[in-house]
Amino acid sequence: MSNQSVSGRPPSGLHYFLHKSRKALKTPMPYLAFIGIGIWLLSYFLLNEYWRVSPFYKVPGPVEVVTEWLNKDPIWGTSLFTQDYYINIWVSCRRIFIAFAIATGLGVPLGLFMGWSKKFKDYTFPILETLRPIPILAWVPLAIVMFAGFETPIIYLATLASFFVTALNTMLGVESIDESYFRAAGCLGSKKHHVFLNVVVPGALPFIFTGLQISIGVAWFSLVAAEMISGDFGLGYMIMDSFMVNKYTTMVMAMLTLGFVGWITSAMVRAAGNRMMQWRERALGQGGV
């Protein structure tokens, strides 16, 4: 939460974007980033591929991975041009989407009511808090027993992980709303449902979206673990499977793909949040609140 960047997206428009980039190029930051990434890639290359220092050489180096990745006829059977690469990505993304949708659909309303009604919180929160310290991965055997097949247990684990985060952050979001907004709504003649729709929901949105950002991260975290332990498809399975049969190049490729896809999904959540919180965006653009 404390690590959330405050800047937000600038107001859209190509002009604004160009202006921003021109300004950024005058600072040393983009050049430093270039050097930093360069150093990282170069040392990765030298240690793993060129000098083959032990034990680095055991993990495939960047040139090998990229060549394989772009190979139309891949040595280990998987690259940008093979179908199973995309099947694995698709399967993982679909699982994440389902899990994230269920977790958000359940977690946000639950969190809203917990934050809004003390009584409701008193009854529900203790159960949540009792279950929460149990690491998601500890649920693997139970998930397999409770649900049949491959698919449902994996989705269940990813859902559970992001559900806790979402519900908790939503609750904190409602609790963070300044009392004076409730009072203002009250003295303007609001009924309870007006307060809920006009104060509780929009007031909690910033926290909800912070929560959703974390929640999609933990959903990926659990999904990968679940796929590694018991999967038939998906990026986690791809990593574990290529490890088992010593296709290490494919394994590194899968890791990088995973990072990229994970990053895209969280960028999507961030964009959705910015869209829904115009009032915050515009105030920040002004350097205001």
Binding site: S2, N3, Q4, P28, M29, Y31, L32, A33, I35, G36, I37, I39, P55, F56, K58, V59, K118, K119, D122, Y123, T124, F125, P126, I127, T130, L131, P133, I134, P135, I136, L137, A138, W139, V140, P141, L142, I144, V145, M146, F147, W220, F221, V224, A225, M228, I229, L235, G236, I239, M240, F243, Y248, M251, M255, L256, L258, G259, G262, W263, S266
Partner: protein, 278 residues
């Protein structure tokens, strides 16, 4: 004065038993346990088919199994092994993560160079590193610890960096106007100013550490020795078909995680006296 503080204490004790919140909480947990027990025994709740939870061993069975297991040395050895890995990975992550975070916060060039690669690697979930780590490190033990370290490392760096950068510039200016050296600024302002975020990062990092240790133990089969940690305890119980023991393992690891995060909160409370006012 003494009288009033005594009254307060009495009030606290009394409120522990009469507290509405507590009563409601206990009530709903009891209901939960009863539904679970009934669901397992009769496979329906008073006429309603029980979904999912009916297949899971009832609390009474779990309790019985637990009272058996606590007398087995293997159970406690699992605790010991998991705690050891968590502690080691967590400590290394702190020792590396805090300086790296602080360095990124105070030196713009260092940050400009090393933050981008850090951000590129961060979206890869720590567990995806397990196989690579097994290939890389000579022993399974080391590879588990490496993944554990990685899990906590990102969170710690991000929190330290964010915390140090959010320190009000006015404090630094005030100190400079009183003639503070760079070292003074670092030691007297940046370090204590970052402490709250260090502890937030530690608490979150501890949670991730437990997740990772557990998963790594499950994936790698618990190391060379038999009985390799609570994750392995759960996994082998599952493989052996002893479901009530799986739940014992789950609760144990939940407990272990809770103990660790309470410890961090306690250390945070001790080391930040200025944050104690409520």
């Amino acid at each position: 004065m003494a009288q009033s503080s005594k009254n307060k204490k009495d009030g606290k004790l009394k409120s522990l038993f009469t507290d509405l919140t507590l009563r409601r909480g206990v009530f709903s947990i009891v209901i939960f346990l009863v539904l679970w027990e009934v669901g397992f025994r009769f496979h329906d709740w008073f006429g309603i088919m029980v979904p999912f939870i009916g297949k899971i061993d009832a609390p009474s069975l779990v309790a019985a199994r637990w009272s058996e297991v606590v007398f087995k040395p293997g159970y406690w050895e699992s605790w010991y092994l998991s705690f050891g890995r968590v502690f080691f990975g967590f400590m290394v992550a702190q020792l590396v993560g805090i300086p790296v975070g602080l360095l990124m916060a105070v030196n713009k060039y260092f940050r400009g160079m090393f933050f981008p690669p850090f951000e590129i690697l961060r979206p890869i979930p720590p567990l995806a590193w397990v196989p690579a780590s097994i290939i890389f490190w000579p022993t399974t033990e080391l590879s588990i610890m490496f993944v554990t370290f990685l899990g906590a490392f990102y969170t710690i760096v991000i929190n330290v960096l964010g915390g140090a950068r959010s320190i009000d510039v006015q404090y630094l200016r005030a100190a400079q106007s009183m003639g503070a050296t760079q070292w003074d600024l670092f030691r007297k302002i940046i370090l204590p100013g970052t402490l709250p975020s260090i502890f937030i990062g530690a608490a979150v990092g501890m949670g991730i550490t437990w997740e990772v240790v557990l998963a790594a133990e499950m994936i790698s089969g618990g190391g060379q020795q038999s009985g390799g940690g609570l994750g392995f305890f759960i996994w082998s119980s599952y493989m052996g078909g002893v479901m009530d023991q799986v739940i014992v393992g789950m609760i144990s690891i939940g407990l272990a995680g809770y103990i660790s995060s309470s410890l961090i909160r306690y250390v945070g409370y001790i080391s930040m006296p200025w944050k104690r006012m409520f």
